[in-house]
Every structure is written in structure tokens, then in C-alpha cells.
């Protein structure tokens, strides 16, 4: 009874903590006004997206507006919250923003043969471009795709037809009139008159056309110019000098190659001010006297600053997760070193602020793809496990910044061994080189999702003396059916499986699939494993997990197994908290005193 009560008492703070850690950070999108005096950024509370407009020198005048004020019903389960595709100050006092475009197909129609066929009209494109004053007033939609709804040229037969809008045309005809909507691209603002926004239609029946939209009245006029379309990511476009000034590069850390000497200089100055952090220039004023930038790294989820260059001051305008107390965040350090074969291996080590065991056990987390994207400095999941008392190592694959030619052969034949061997060496390196952040080499467990889960299990098979237990989340236990979904049962299960791994790297004519298989080497899986699967998400994963469970049961060591709901993958706090508690219970069993012989384990309820 007491244990139960204690568990209930503990659950609420843990759930709250998980919710706080996984809450979307502020300022996913942020912009600075041309005069550098105002900032606008997004904030998502639950599934509601808002925009905060602030004057950093007078923060009491902040205004918050909802992106979708007309929404009266909450988003349905699985519905993606709205994001912004455009956010810029047109003038010092007027902000223009545009939610991501929604394409809504029209219902199927029945053809003359009675079969369902795609609707020849539409789809409906919801692409509003909105504006609001800095004081929150004069908010409204300036223009939407519906304004440019088109009919085919042949639908307009008379002069009167030509003078009608598409809606009028449809309304006046007895027979159906085909129609489509174009996509709307925002190209920027007229430099000589920033109250005129330049947009471009794309798609529908016509050629692409450009228009001016008055950001005060929403009135649309033809634009005779051929305004260049700003390039998207990874290129960086200077909206004031109308040129590409840099390019973002992925790697262990995101970097920017600046073509503009002045901005390159600013980048260097800020990197001096924020050593060992990632500094990303986000926006700047027209004179570049004010530069908006983001700093990430260390244990912090990130902060946004304005570099006031004439004063040489960096003004911190917001923390991206102010609800997280920095004192309670577990220390996270980046590390990298050269492996014996010269490859660069990197990752993050998160050390628990409060550990119940000293030194704490170590949880090794494999990346979910290969080579996958680089691990982010701040990781809510690592914080959860550190809160639970684990030191957490999150590894980048050696090829995260590009595959070295000399690694190709090894990766093609033994991607699992390369990755697991790197992890093993990384543990040794960290133990030797970070004595101030100790962990218990006798209590090492591992975790991964997707391909990372596969590696976690392979680590248990390859080095059972190192890894005492592991958790595999939605992990394939057999690579071939996972990489070749169209072969599974002779049916195409999914056109594009959710994986982040170049199949061609592994799937070679001479690939030894048995050597890569968890299933075919099930007898060497002697360490405990927790299999977490979201059923029906991926047939190959469902099947291989079921087979592994059966084989291990046959060997007399049934694995722990639990189904997880889609909320876990979607990052929903409630689902996450439930699963993390299961993981905690499992891991705690594995890290009991290694000198003590464990009795029979009981199933976690």
C-alpha cells in the first residue's frame, strides 16, 4: 500500500517533468524588424500557435496574437499543428505571416462507369497570408489562394465570362466549370515601399504570375516585374541586399558558410563571445546594426539574442524553454575524438545532477538512422534518463559529417559492427578522458529506436560483457525485409518506409544478411532486452520482433515486451511518461549490483 502511494506521488512530478521537457520551445520561427527595434516569434501552447511581438527595449509592450484565431475546435488526434512558413516585419509596425499551406483534396467523384475517380477540380488550397500591427490591432488575412482560383482558358467563352471571377463564372453556368487554386509564394517586399508585398502564384492553369499586395488594405495589383524567387534552405538570402549571403551546412554541428564578409565577421565575433556553442545568425536589421541570433549547446535548450553592434552588447531576449530551470537541467557536454582508424567520433555526454548510484550507470543511445542527422545538444529524452540517475551518451555515427571512402567497405559488410565498435571505444575513451564525469563501466545499458534499436540489440549480442541490457524501440531485427519492404509477402506494404538509412549502402549483391541479422544470431542474445513496438506501424518490424520473442522464449529467456501507442513517437508527454516508466523499471533491474546474483525477474505491470 505504501509503495503504491509513493508511486502515485512520484508519478505526477515525473509526468510534469516529461511534459516540460517535451514542450515545444519558443521561437521556432523568429524575425527582426528592418530597424532592429522589434522582434516577432512563435510560441506553441498545446496545439495552439501564437505569435509574440516584442520591443526588446520595452518588453512590457509585448503583444500576442493567435495564428488561427478562428479555430474553435481543438485539433483532432494525429492532426498536425499549424506552423508558419513566413514571418517578417514589413515595416516597423506591421507584421506579415503565413501559416503552412494546407492542401485539401476534394472528395472522389463517380465517373460514368460508376467508379470512384479523383475529383477533376481543386484541390482546395488554404494558403492565407496575414498581417497584424505591432499593437495586435488590424489583424486579418491579406490574401489567400482562393483569390486566385482559376478556370481553364476554354471555360471563358465570352467577354462577359472574361470579366467574371471564377466564383461568379461557376455560379452563372449550368454545367460544371473546372477550377483550380494556385500555390502562393511570398517573394518579399518592395524595397522602395515595404508596404507592398510581392507574391507569386504557382500551379493552377496559368503560368506563374507575380502580384503586389498592399499590406494595409490587402488590395492586389499586377506586378510587372520579374522579381527573383528567394532561394530556400540551405541558402541564406539577405532581403535587404537581395542576394544570397550564405549557406547552412549540416555536420556534427550546424555551420554556416558566409559569402558575405561582414556577416562572416559577425559570426566570428559572436563565436568568441559564446565559445563552445553553436551560434546561428537568424536575421538582421537593414543596416546590420542589430543581428538576431540563436545560441545552442551545453545543457541549455537555447537562447535568442540581439547583437547590438554599435554598443557591442549581446541582449538576451528570451530563453527557448524558460519553464525549465537551468539549475535542474543535467549537464551535457559535447565530445569528439579520433578513433584509432582516424575516423572522427562524436556525441554528447549528459551527466545526472543527482544520481542515486555513484558512479551512475551509463545509458548508451544509438542514433535512429545511419548516418542520420547529428544529435542535438539538448535532448529531452537524455534529460529524462539523467533525471532517473543515468549518465547518457548519445553518439553520432562516424559518417555523420560524410562517409569517408576508407570506411565504405567496412560499412557495407558490417555496419552493425562498425557502429557498435565505435560505441564501445567511445565508452572507453570517455571513461579515461572525463574523470570529472564518471560513470560505472560495470553498469552499461543501451537504447535505440529504429535502426538505432537494431544496433542496441546487436551491441548486446556482440559485447554482452559490456552491455548489461538494452531497449529497442520500433527496431527491425532483420535488415533485409526492413530495407526491402516490397518483398515482404510479395506485397508492397509501404512505398516509402520510415527509415533514415541509405539502403544501397547495405543492400549489396554479396551482402551477408545472416551476419547482420539479430534473429539468426538469437542464441547469442543472452542479456536482457526490452522490445517496445508500436503495432502496425511497420510490418517488417512487427514480424521480426515477434520472431525474436518466439526464438528467445524457445531459448528459455523471453524478452520484456510492451506495445506503445502512437503518442510516443509523436512526442506526446502522457505517452512518453508511461513508456519511460516502463523503461526505468526495466533498466533498474539491469543495473543492480553486478556482484549480486539476481533472482528471477518479474514482469513489469
Amino acid at each position: 500500500m505504501f509503495v503504491l502511494a509513493a508511486g502515485i506521488l512520484r508519478a505526477a512530478p515525473f509526468d510534469d517533468r516529461v511534459e516540460a521537457l517535451f514542450r515545444p520551445p519558443l521561437a521556432e520561427t523568429i524575425t527582426l524588424s528592418a530597424d532592429g527595434q522589434r522582434v516577432a516569434y512563435t510560441t506553441q501552447v498545446g496545439l495552439t500557435l501564437s505569435i509574440v511581438m516584442m520591443d526588446p527595449e520595452n518588453p512590457r509592450a509585448n503583444e500576442t496574437v493567435l495564428v488561427e484565431p478562428d479555430r474553435t475546435t481543438p485539433l483532432a488526434e494525429g492532426q498536425v499543428p499549424v506552423h508558419l512558413r513566413f514571418l517578417r516585419w514589413a515595416t516597423t509596425s506591421r507584421l506579415v505571416f503565413a501559416p503552412t499551406e494546407r492542401v485539401v483534396p476534394l472528395p472522389l467523384v463517380i465517373d460514368s462507369n460508376g467508379r470512384s475517380v479523383p475529383n477533376p477540380d481543386g484541390p482546395t488550397i488554404v494558403s492565407p497570408i496575414m498581417a497584424v500591427d505591432a499593437n495586435g490591432q488590424q489583424r486579418g488575412t491579406l490574401v489567400d489562394a482562393s483569390h486566385f482560383q482559376e478556370t481553364p482558358a476554354e471555360a471563358r467563352r465570352t467577354l462577359a465570362d472574361l470579366l467574371r471571377t471564377t466564383k461568379e463564372l461557376v455560379a452563372t453556368r449550368n454545367e460544371p466549370v473546372r477550377w483550380r487554386m494556385p500555390h502562393l509564394d511570398i517573394l518579399g517586399f518592395l524595397p522602395r515601399d515595404r508596404e507592398q508585398m510581392i507574391i507569386q502564384t504557382r500551379g493552377a492553369y496559368s503560368m506563374a504570375a507575380q502580384y503586389l499586395v498592399d499590406i494595409r488594405t490587402g488590395s492586389i495589383s499586377e506586378f510587372g516585374g520579374d522579381w527573383p524567387v528567394p532561394p530556400g534552405e540551405p541558402k541564406i538570402f539577405d532581403p535587404y541586399r537581395l542576394k544570397v549571403v550564405g549557406e547552412r551546412k549540416d555536420g556534427v554541428h550546424p555551420t554556416t558558410i558566409w559569402h558575405d564578409a561582414e556577416l562572416g565577421g559577425v559570426q566570428r565575433e559572436l563565436e568568441f563571445k559564446f565559445p563552445r556553442r553553436v551560434v546561428e545568425l537568424l536575421d538582421w536589421s537593414d543596416t546590420r546594426g542589430r543581428v538576431l541570433f540563436r545560441v545552442t549547446g551545453g545543457s541549455d535548450p537555447g537562447r535568442i539574442f540581439i547583437y547590438q553592434r554599435p554598443e557591442d552588447i549581446v541582449l538576451e531576449i528570451l530563453r527557448r524553454a524558460p519553464w525549465l530551470s537551468s539549475e535542474k537541467l543535467n549537464d551535457t557536454r559535447f565530445f569528439e575524438y579520433d578513433a584509432p582508424d582516424g575516423a572522427r567520433v562524436s556525441g554528447y555526454l549528459t551527466s545526472p545532477t543527482k544520481a542515486s548510484l555513484a558512479p551512475p550507470p551509463l545509458l548508451v543511445v544509438f542514433p535512429s538512422g545511419f548516418p542520420g542527422g547529428a544529435q542535438q545538444p539538448f535532448d529531452p529524452e537524455a534529460q529524462v534518463f539523467a533525471d532517473l540517475g543515468f549518465a547518457v551518451v548519445r553518439l553520432n555515427h562516424r559518417s555523420v559529417a560524410g562517409v569517408r571512402p576508407e570506411d565504405l567497405t567496412a560499412l557495407r559488410t558490417a555496419v552493425d559492427r562498425v557502429a557498435v565498435e565505435d560505441a564501445r571505444k567511445a565508452i572507453e575513451w570517455l571513461a579515461a578522458r572525463t574523470p570529472d564525469r564518471p560513470f560505472d563501466l560495470r553498469r552499461v545499458v543501451t537504447l535505440g529506436r529504429g535502426f538505432g534499436g537494431y544496433l542496441a540489440v546487436r551491441a548486446l549480442q556482440l559485447y554482452p560483457e559490456v552491455f548489461r541490457g538494452g531497449i529497442a524501440i520500433d527496431a527491425p531485427m532483420e535488415l533485409r525485409p526492413w530495407l526491402r519492404p516490397h518483398e515482404a509477402g510479395g506485397l508492397i506494404i509501404e512505398a516509402k518506409p520510415p527509415r533514415d538509412i541509405p539502403a544501397a549502402l547495405i543492400d549489396q549483391p554479396d551482402t551477408d544478411w545472416r551476419r547482420l541479422s539479430v534473429l539468426d544470431q538469437a542464441e547469442v542474445l543472452t542479456q536482457p532486452v526490452l522490445l517496445l513496438v508500436e503495432p502496425t506501424r511497420h510490418a517488417a518490424i512487427d514480424a521480426s520482433n515477434a520472431t525474436l520473442r518466439a526464438r528467445l522464449e524457445g531459448l528459455g529467456r523471453a524478452p520484456d515486451y510492451s506495445e506503445i501507442d502512437p503518442g510516443f513517437a509523436a512526442g506526446r508527454p502522457g505517452s512518453r511518461a508511461v513508456v519511460y516508466r516502463k523503461m526505468e523499471a526495466f533498466l533498474n533491474r539491469q543495473i543492480q549490483d553486478p556482484a549480486v546474483t539476481m533472482g528471477p525477474t518479474t514482469e513489469e505491470k
Partner: protein, 578 residues
Amino acid sequence: MKHFNRALWFALVVDASRLSLSAQPQAPQPEPQAGAAPSSTVTAATVAPAQTVELPPMLVEESISSVPWLYVNAGGTEFLSRCSASTTRTLAEAWLARLQLVRVLVPEEFLARMDVPEVFVLYGQDQRRTVSAEIQRELSEAGDRVRPGESPRGGGVNIALSMRLSDRDMHAAIAYIDESLFDAAGLSISPGHVRFLLQGRVPELPAWLVDGLERSYRRADFVVSPVTLGPLVWNSQRESDAFGRDPTRPRAVLPASELFATNALRAVESRHPRRVETRASTQELFVRWAITSGDATREALWRFAARAAEGPVTEELFEADFGFDYSELRDRLSDYLPKAVEETKRINPGRQPLGPRVEVERATSNQIARIRGEWERLAIGHVQRRLPEVREPYIAQARRTLRRAYDAGDRDPRLLATLGLCEIDSGESDSALPFLEQATALGVVRPRAYYELAWLRFAALREGMPETKVFSYSELAPIIQPLQQALTQAPPMAEVFELLAEAWAHCELSPNPAEFAELERGARLFPSRPTVGYPVALALARHGKPAEAAAVLDVSAAYAMDEDTRASVNRLRADLAR
């Protein structure tokens, strides 16, 4: 021989600020005005406005006043007092107890250490009689030249009631006490004095630490509930209040890489008022955070401070002490700021040791002459700098006081040293020499006396000689030996190392290992002074220690220096690199 320039440079009055006495020491004190009866504590006010010349009070002659002088020697301070015995004892005890509390905030090893006792003159006589008749006459009869309240510079002339003056190896204060108002419980030590103690520390503390500590000290209560840090004032009270309403409001906290910048980098950083304000506020925030965040962080602060005094600091050094990096520090300070403007934090002083026994006795003629003379000597430099037109009466009075005892047969080496230094400060080097020789021969504890003697001898030796002339050790021994003697006393003086290095650089004999070590110690103690590092490097290089010389110059190069010195340093570095 005269060496006016050097005397001027030495200027004696390295640090001059007035002292006032206040019954409400924690309240901000207005500038005490001459003639006004200030309140009751020893609180240094800020330096007088530039247009007003503050002159030190000069005590009337013994023959004019019948009030006896009392003497106390306790806790490294010599008090000479014309107040009552009880007031003198109470003040001495309170002063020493307050100094002890300062050490709660700043460990003793980070404060100036001087083997020469501090001098404290207390008086409570009529303010009109604080200026000797000669000086009053000089001021009033100067007519167009100088009139009280109307200096030739266009500003006013005030006689400060209280003042603190310092030399390189000692310091002195004079304080007017209105005994009818005096309350020792309200006595506090002025931030200016704490700053002096911090700045006098060797190796020299970095400016960010001195400034940060001084500002923190200003907000500390040492009287009612010692030691309590009141809420931080971030830039202004208005801005601090705003943080109370909105802890998330934007803030500019100086990044740590700039907070701990060497003075070479600071010399070229933006002087924009907001930047200057941000630096000052961040320095205070850092010191406060480090002192109030627990024993481990406080210890880390002092370890780091000790390193910073010995040379430029790096992020790695910081991390070794604090356990996290520069960017993390900036974040922590930023997050601490909204709390700091709200919180009152008490630092438990723990059990304080019993203060030294204070015995008040009637002052002897030697004590009166020596201490008064010391004060009057210090005043010469201050007047020379602020109002040279009235320098002569101050010189005359100091000589009168000192020589009266000397002529009466007093040969106390301390008196002799003061006599010699008085002549130096008066520009009469030839007259100084015999006094300094006698004083040093008697083993006086007075580092500057040894230095001045060596300087005079070296100047005499080199007179008329080419710059590159090399001397034998026997010729240089009379210069080197007093300098070495000076280095056995506190504080170690930069000038001593400079002159010692210069002497060795002109010596045909190589220093022995201990003497090399002595030179390198100078470079270590004064890393931020290329005026020490450069001659030390020259001496090392001349005597076959190029690697050691290069190492000294590498450290010096990180600090600010004038263009000529930098050119010399760079030239020597280039020569050593060949």
C-alpha cells in the same frame, strides 16, 4: 641631485580620497564639505569634483594646542589621536573589527599586505585650526594666485576634514571626529579603502575582480547584520525593479570571454555607455553570484582570482575551477540576475577572532614626530599634484615636524627613512641620501627607502656614462643589495624589480640561480606590467636565458602597454626568436 620627474611620478599620493565620519554609515554619504561637521563614521567619500581642489588638513603645532596626543599600536595600525582616550580606544577597536569583517568578504590573501604599519591620525579640534598658520597665511595672502574657494584653476579650494593618502609601501588616513556625535557601532570602512586594499595586492588582482568586489561591498551591510548583501542594483534601480515585475525581460550580460578579458583587450573594447554599464554590472553580478552560491563556488572564485592575478586566464582554467565553461557561466549569471535584484543574502561571518589588545598611551615625542611627519610628508605629493602653488608650506611643515625630533637626537630608523623620503618628495635628492643610508643601515622596514637609495646610487653611477655601459658587480652591489633587501619586505614593489633587472642587465657578472629566480619572481608578481617584464626579459636574455626571457615576454604581450614599450617588447621577442 634633484630628480623632480621621478618624484612627481612617484607622486606619493597614489590614492587620495577624503574620509568622513558618519553616524549612519550605510546610508549614501554626501560629499562632506569643508567646514561642515560631518557625521560620525570613517567613510571615504568619492574624490572631489575636478574643479574643486581638496587640500589635506594640516595639524596645528604642538605649541598652539594643549590637547595631548595619544598613541595606539594594534593590528598593524599606528593611531595618533587628539581625541579622548575612550574615543581613541573605541575607534581603534571598531576599526580593527570592521577590517576583520572585510576579510569575511575578501580573504586576507587578496588584500594588500604591507609590513609598514598603517598610520591613522585622529583629531577633533576646531576645524579652523586644522590648517597651520603658515598655510592659512599662504592661502589667504596668495591673493590672485590662490584663495580659498577660488583656485587659480578656476575651481574652489577646500580643506578636507578627513583624507586618506598612500605611498607605495604604506598608507595613512586622517579623520576628524566630532566626539559628541561619534558612535563606534556605526563605523564602517569605506568602499574606497577596500578598493585600495584590493588594488595593493601583489600579484595584482584583475580589474574585473577589484571593480566587482568594490561594487558588491558597497551594497553590503557590515554594521546592522554583518555581512549582508542587499539586493543587486542592475544598471539602475528602475531596471532592477522591472526585473521584479518581469523576470524574463531582456538583459545584456557580458559574455565571460569579455568579462575576464586582459587589460590589453579591455583597452580596445567599446566605450559606449551601455557597454561600460553592462561591464560594471556584470562584474558585480559575477562576484555576488560566486560569493553567495555556496562554499564550493566561493572557493572556486578565489582559486580563479589567484590565477587571474598571475596571468591571463583561459576558459580551460575557468572550467578547471568552476566545473563548467564560459558560455555556461553567462547563462547562469543571466538566470541568476532576476533573483539577485530581489534577494538579500547574508554571509555568515562565523566566529570572529578576538581583536588585538588596544592600549592607549600618551604619545612620545618620537611617535608624534614620526607619525605626524609621515602624514605631512604624504601631503606634499598630494598638494604637488593638485595645487603646486601651495606646496612649499606643506614641505616646510613636514620638515619642521620631522627635524624637530631629529635635531633632538632621535635616530629611529623609521624617522630617518621618512626624513629621506620627505626630501625625495620635495625634490631634494642630495639631502635625502644621508637619511636613507642611515635608515637602511639600521635595517628599517620601509621598502621604498631601499629603492630610493638604490635609485640614487644607480643614477650617480651611470651619470655621464653611455647607455650600454656594463659595470662590474662590485660597482653594482651597492645598488643590487638594497633592492634585494627591499624584496624581503612587503609589499614587493614593481619599481624594485624594474631597477633590479636594469642593474643586472648592466652587470658583467651573471646572477646566480637564486638571483635569477628573484628576477623571474618579479615577472610573475607583475605580469600585467611590461615595465617589469621587459627589463626582466632583457636581463635574462643578456645572461643566457633566452627561453625564460621569451616566456616572460609572452605573458607581457597579453597586456596593455604604450606603443614604444610594445615596439621594444616585439623587437626583443623577434631577437629571441632568431
